[in-house]
């Protein structure tokens, strides 16, 4: 099914099914077309178009100097991006996979995150680091990590992750336009998710840092982001049969964290479950639960619960379904939200 959309200049255009991968590619293309200082660099991003084909066509359209196949060295790529940003460019770095970004951590932690601060605001570093992350695609070892907790724990970085086709476009555009470094986490199992979306008339996206309520409900709030949003929406539909009307909040950015939207929702519902793939211990859920408790204690009817990946190295693909939080685990957590007191 297609729906009509209206462009900025009032033309009607057909929205067609598009994948998140296509929306991300379009965001890169539009950013590069709009701003000649935007440069894409990474491994296989040029001729091949990236292993997930996100950068497909960019080298052809903008040339090898704007979309550059680099030597295979993540610290070197990010370090070079720092120097390019120092000279006024706006680099967008592709890390091929979540776990392949780790060699770049020293550059990220010691320089990218701190640069604005250590130069007293004199030199911002507008770098976007795109990282395909998370599991669920049958990837073998080192291809499925949920690394968001490391980035979240590093002051100076923004950490953004889209969960919808529309957000993939809008948030990536916003990230590239940001004068701060942004870790842009792409949920790789949603790369091929589809939605009706018109690239000619992309909906305006709010600035980075705004969560969004994807489903309103009164019984409890599911707080999630990226790859776990579809799981939570499915769980919310299934919960109707149990008599629960669940609200679902999509964080969209982990840093900045939208305390306001989260707290407002939990104050309305009185119950909350945080859902993510990342291991629970030391993961985002603990921080989010603490923030909710600090702000909404007197509104809470039950402890804030977490549904997370196990505290294990990411399992081999034939076992990953046991690791990933699914609908049943979310519903089990909802069931443990002390409903007895209500009756």
């Amino acid at each position: 099914m297609t729906t009509a959309a209206v462009t900025a200049d009032g033309r009607r255009t057909k929205a067609k099914p598009a994948t998140m991968a296509q929306a991300l590619g379009r965001a890169l293309r539009d950013s590069m077309a709009e701003d000649p200082t935007v440069h894409v660099l990474g491994e296989d991003v040029g001729t091949l178009g990236g292993v997930f084909r996100i950068t497909d066509g960019l080298a052809k359209e903008f040339g090898d100097d704007r979309c550059t196949d680099t030597p295979l060295a993540e610290a070197g790529i990010l370090g070079a991006a720092v120097g390019m940003a120092m000279y006024g460019l706006r680099p967008v770095v592709e890390m091929q996979f979540d776990a392949f970004a780790y060699p770049a951590f020293e550059q990220l932690m010691s320089h990218v995150a701190k640069w604005r601060n250590r130069t007293g605001g004199a030199m911002p570093l507008p770098i976007t680091v795109r990282v395909p992350y998370g599991g669920g695609i049958g990837g073998v070892e080192h291809h499925s990590d949920s690394s968001e907790a490391y980035y979240m724990a590093t002051p100076g970085l923004h950490v953004v992750t889209p969960a919808t086709v529309e957000d993939a476009y809008g948030l990536l555009r916003e990230s590239i336009a940001s004068d701060d470094p942004v870790i842009f986490l792409e949920p790789k199992r949603l790369y091929w998710s589809k939605a009706d979306w018109s690239p000619e008339a992309p909906a305006a996206v709010e600035p980075i840092g705004k969560a969004v309520v994807r489903r309103t409900g009164r019984s409890a709030t599911l707080i999630t982001y990226g790859p776990s949003l579809p799981v939570c929406l499915e769980a919310a539909e299934a919960a109707v049969a149990e008599g629960w009307d669940l609200e679902v909040v999509d964080l969209r950015s982990l840093v900045p964290f939208d305390d306001e939207t989260v707290a407002a929702s939990v104050r309305r519902t009185g119950r909350a479950v945080v859902v993510h793939e990342s291991p629970g211990f030391g993961g985002p859920g603990g921080e989010i639960a603490a923030r909710i408790t600090e702000r909404c204690f007197h509104h809470l009817e039950a402890p804030v619960l977490r549904v997370a990946g196990f505290d294990i190295p990411y399992p081999p693909p034939m076992l990953e379904r046991h690791h990933l939080p699914g609908v049943d685990r979310v519903l089990d957590a909802v069931a443990r939200l002390q409903w007895e007191a209500d009756s």
Partner: protein, 386 residues
């Protein structure tokens, strides 16, 4: 048994696939067998005497700057100072070979190079005093922030030089690193990127013999650090790092080469760290005095002074004038460093992001309240005459 030993192996002559052939003839990339020298050799005849005198004045000033900064640590005015005493020829030459539009990428031991490039020494020293990480706007003098994590500034130099080249700007980046830093992965990645991109970068390795306590023999098995260049496909140059005229010439040639678009050069300057790693280090635990004494005979200031006096370019009065100028610089630095720096605690939250997050606004308000309470408390104490 190997393939070569198999029956009929003599007839087995596999031709490598066409893609395989050495891209670059390594011979022209190889460094000289001995560190290149100018002072005391015939080459010195080609050097402008004015340059030698300029180098001398700067070296004397640099030596005094190192002594003053070390003294400031003893007086509690600097938290720590990694001295470049003995390495002044490298520091000064690195600064002097660059044009104003070029960029310098110093490590934490290279405040002298930054100062010689024109940076206010107080601004150069805020990192080591401990009041500000970077005391200057890097763009003003085109000096990157002093870099503490070893070799991590080298890829920055490559990226900046690459960006300048893409823009068509005539800009060279000179990046400084020590012998220990050459073992870091970022050294390798930076040199590889620079060579592949033909970036206008000069890598200056000051081989001062030690990475804190670890001598070069435990750092590398390479014939020399300059030889590492060959593996990346760029020329390696080996130079006497205590010979200011030689370092100036070799770096100058590397900068000119980069500016011509011919790509990066790796320069190894063989020198010696006369002081401990920092004032907090004890060098007697890992090296013997006789070694230090031997290097004193090859001191960069003495080498240059000998050359200049032997040729009648510098007399005792000239030496005295250079010393006086250096003394005036040191006195001014001492006076200015003896004033307590102004601290701005609220700035802790100002430059984390372009726009403060709500969390940082809350934390800033909390610190503001603490500071106000402290001030009220102090005022109360003052009124009570305590």
């Amino acid at each position: 048994m190997t393939v070569q030993e198999l029956p009929g192996a003599a007839a087995y002559r596999p031709t490598p696939p066409p893609a395989w052939k050495p891209i670059t003839d390594p011979a022209p990339l190889l460094p000289d067998p001995e560190p290149y020298r100018v002072l005391g050799t015939d080459a010195v005849a080609d050097v402008d005497p004015e340059l030698l005198l300029r180098l001398h004045a700067e070296l004397v000033r640099g030596r005094r700057y190192n002594a003053q900064a070390t003294a400031l640590t003893k007086q509690g005015r600097l938290a720590v100072y990694p001295s470049s005493t003995g390495q002044e020829a490298c520091e000064i030459a690195a600064a002097l070979v660059l044009e104003e539009r070029d960029w310098l990428f110093p490590s934490y031991r290279d405040t002298l190079a930054a100062v010689a490039r024109g940076l206010d020494p107080v601004e150069a020293l805020t990192l080591l005093r401990g009041d500000r990480h970077t005391g200057y706007d890097p763009r003003e003098h085109r000096i990157a922030p002093l870099c503490t994590p070893l070799a991590t500034q080298l890829p920055h130099a490559v990226g900046l030089a690459h960006a300048a080249r893409l823009k068509g700007d005539d800009v060279v980046a000179l990046a400084m690193v020590g012998d220990g830093g050459t073992s870091e992965g970022d050294f390798h990645e930076a040199l590889n990127f620079a060579a592949v991109w033909k970036a206008p970068v000069v890598f200056l390795v000051q081989n001062n013999g030690f990475a804190i306590s670890v001598p070069l023999a435990k750092q590398t098995a390479a014939p020399s650090l300059a030889h590492k260049a060959v593996g990346y496909g760029m020329p390696g140059r080996l130079v006497d790092g205590n010979d200011a005229a030689a370092v100036h010439q070799v770096l100058g040639e590397a900068v000119a080469r980069a500016r011509r678009g011919e790509g990066p050069t790796l320069v190894e300057a063989v020198t010696y760290r006369m002081e401990a790693h920092t004032n907090a280090d004890d060098a007697t635990r890992y090296r013997v005095d006789s070694e230090v004494e031997a290097w004193k005979a090859h001191d960069p200031v003495r080498l240059l002074e000998r050359e200049l006096t032997e040729r009648g370019l510098l007399d005792e009065a000239g030496v005295e004038r250079a010393k006086e100028a250096a003394e005036a610089m040191a006195a001014a630095l001492r006076d200015r460093m003896n004033a307590d720096p102004e601290l701005a605690p609220m700035d802790l939250f100002t430059h984390v992001y372009a726009e403060q997050t709500s969390q940082l606004r809350e934390q800033a308000a909390a610190l503001r309240a603490e500071l106000d309470a402290e001030r009220d408390h102090d005022e109360h104490d003052a009124e009570a005459g305590r």
